[in-house]
Amino acid sequence: MKTELQSAIAGTPADTALSVRDVTYTYPSEPGPALRALSLDQAHGEMIAIMGASGAGKSTLAKCLNRLVPEFEGGDFRGIVMIGKSRLDAMRICEAAAEVGMVFQDFEAQLFSTSVELEVAFAMEQVGMARGEMQARLRPALEAVGLAGFEHRDPTSLSGGEKQRLAIASVLALRPSIIVLDEPTTDLDPEGKAEVFALIAKLREQGFSLVVIEHESEELMRADRIILLHDGTIVADAPPAEVMTNFDLLEECGVHVPGLNRVLHLLGIGGHADSVDQAYEAIVRTFPRLRTFSPASPTALSKDPDPAGSGEPPLVEVTGLSFSYSENVHALKGIDLRIERGDFLAIVGQNGSGKTTLAKHIVGLLKPNEGRVMLEGRDRASLRAAETAREVAYVFQNPDHQISAATVWDEVAFGPRNFGFDKREIERRCAEVLEAVGLLDARDKDPFLLSKGERQRVAVASVLALRPRLLILDEPTTGLDHREQRRMMALVEDLNRSGIAIVMITHTPWLVAEYARRVVLIRKGRKLFDGTVAEFFAQDDLLAHSSFRAPEVTRLSRRFGALALTPQALADWIKERA
């Protein structure tokens, strides 16, 4: 076997940056392999995007490229990975670091130093580089990521996007042959995402060999190839135009079908568009009449209106709310907000804009410096958070902050037990909510052994068991693959239909477009917008100012003077007029 593999490697073309041959890998605690006989090649300067559902093997593959698998993870590894002409299995992880630079999703966990320059120097220090050489490499690495001038800044004071760019600079300084980015934008706000994707594009132009693992399909359209993983095997390895138009395969693999391609498909045009301009041209070529439609004064293809007020006091009424964490950090300034029964509200804004601080005031974790928060006509300041848990529920961004019990059942029963419900009532509620979130079969499992998507659903179930009237979700889809995101949002939509008001803090434009009915935009602690989703996406200046982008489908619809929030709505609108 080895001999066959070695002869295969010997035939690798000279311009190959990376070669993976017949890699099969099984984690120590898992019964089946995470990767199965996987082979791929990457030419120098090529950008490969790797996509697939959670558990498909994307991160495992990334870890194979710098020896984290199997050296760090253990387990059974077979096959060969070559970087250029060097076999990786002859290297330790720390030796492979000079060849393969790796950027992880968790930007907090990959910064160890107290200043930007020391962070960039860290890897160079580890390989024993001379001081003069380090100083010579420092500036170009920071310039490449747009952080020149930040040398003495504390990395913890940077924004999410800047932190991730710093992590990239720290691997660039070693001048590796390949840079692997494992979901580098998952935890970032739209501005941070845009910064990182712009940097990826720039690195590609400079000829770096890149391997990018991402859930966001729209941003990967300019990759040379997309490799689709499913259950540890490669099910597609082709240019984006080919992979991103195979809807059945994408859906089977839990990957988001790009909205523009979906519109073209629904219109019977088919094919692939990697930008709004391309999609527009394809549509007007087929339906020339649409060229005459003007982008001015868009007509909103609106969703259901918000439920009419019942005459009762609002669920939540925030008046003149201001809050500071310290003398110099004003987190909220004069916020007014009403949340009615049955509302579905999205709160958007950059990282650090004050979204979570506002939510914490609503649930009673913080008390205002100025202004007040009323909960169904009662002053929130006089109520403790634990007392109102049955009325207002909050699901944290990281489900692991909530989970403390040994089984899923006990976790969900935690809230009802705190309120002293009898055993029968607790059982009834737990069964009901676990059924709703699709985890009844997992009732006896250890929640920490579930996937991130499942843990997120456990967290939702554990607050739903208290039957709140308002559910606040802080980034409910972060770290979930597309299928899990859809499942989570279908659950949230059902809850909203059953009468629970939803407040969703999110950075994801398509979630706002497809699910919310109202948007509140917060910037630097001030409320800049409060209105319908259609109104929000029609405000180009406001969007640009707040670094929030409308989904591509919405931007395409604007070219025709419409304002569609989903591919189906836009396709129907075009069909009617064309």
């Binding site: 870890k63 710098n66 984290l68 050296e71 760090f72 330790r92 992880i93 720390c94 030796e95 670091a97 000079a98 790796m102 992880f104 907090e108 966990a109 990959q110 160890f112 130093s113 107290t114 200043s115 020391l118 120097a121 860290f122 890897a123 160079m124 220090e125 580890q126 390989v127 024993g128 001379a130 001081r131 380090m134 100083q135 003495h152 504390d154 913890t156 691997v171 914490k360 649930v363 974790l365 403790r384 958070a385 634990a386 007392e387 848990a389 049955r390 909050y394 944290f396 990281n398 692991d400 902050h401 909530q402 989970i403 403390s404 935690f414 809230g415 705190n418 309120f419 920490f448 607050v463």
Partner: protein, 261 residues
């Protein structure tokens, strides 16, 4: 919330050689260790406050003010239950209030507060990278030194994480303020598992990121910043030696002890 204590002030204490700063931390611990008497603990306490003023570290002392107050106050109270020597000033069941028990408890409290103060001062003026370098120069292996210095950086992160977890449990109706002192302490046990799991995940991610950046390739990595030994380091070293000797003499001559009364 700032997750590290280092304050980039550029004072002469900040510029001292990392080894001198590590020795300074050791000397402060050493001095506090040898004496129990509050009067004897006073000079080193005043010295720390003077350095805090000099280095602009008040912000961090203010940040931890409640910890200082709680340490001194609760330790003084707790020792009233255990220190049984000296003539009682008032007769109370279980509690022995004498001049000796009050002075002993206060001394213990000040001792703990000074240990905390020394740590705050050290972390306010020393980067974690300098801590690693300082330990390495004193013969501690690079990996061990790095792990120790990283632990200092991670403690505030874990505290932050624990606070979020407490909030999450409150929001499911778990009342941390219910019951007496011991019941309240027991109720915080629910936080242990998530904090532990969160710490493990973070440590695992961090370990992977470290390895992927070449950590462990060499036992003696190079450093971007040069740390030359300056005259100020020699002066500081001699001063520290004098303080350490002085405190040992206070102990040796018995002036640092407490006489029951």
């Amino acid at each position: 919330m700032a997750i590290q204590l280092y304050l980039d002030r550029g004072t002469f204490v900040h510029r001292l050689h990392p080894t001198v700063k590590v020795i300074a931390l050791f000397v402060m611990f050493w001095s506090v260790y040898w004496v129990d008497n509050p009067i004897a603990l006073l000079p080193i306490g005043i010295f720390m406050l003077w350095v805090a003023q000099l280095t602009g570290s008040w912000r961090n002392f203010y940040r931890y003010r409640w910890y200082f107050i709680i340490l001194v106050f609760t330790t003084t109270i707790v020792w009233l239950f255990f220190y049984r020597q000296g003539t009682p000033l008032i007769n109370l069941p279980f509690v022995h209030v004498s001049r000796g028990s009050l002075v002993y408890g206060l001394g213990r409290g000040i001792k703990l507060a000074e240990l905390l103060g020394a740590s705050v001062l050290f972390l306010s003026t020393t980067r974690v990278e300098e801590f690693t370098v300082g330990l390495a120069k004193l013969g501690v292996s690079y990996r061990v030194g790095f792990a120790i210095s990283l632990a200092f950086r991670l403690v505030p992160l874990f505290i932050d994480s624990a606070m979020t977890i407490v909030d999450a449990q409150k929001l499911r109706g778990y009342d941390f303020e219910k019951g007496g002192l011991f019941e309240r302490m027991r109720r915080y046990v629910t936080v242990v598992i998530p904090v532990f799991m969160s710490a493990l995940r973070r440590a695992n991610n961090m370990a992977m990121a470290l390895e992927a950046r070449g950590f462990g390739l060499r036992n003696n990595p190079t450093t971007l910043i040069e740390y030359p030994v300056m005259p100020a380091d020699v002066v500081a070293g001699l001063t520290l030696f004098a303080i350490a000797t002085g405190y040992f003499l206070i102990y040796y001559t018995g002036y640092g002890a407490i006489t029951p009364g």
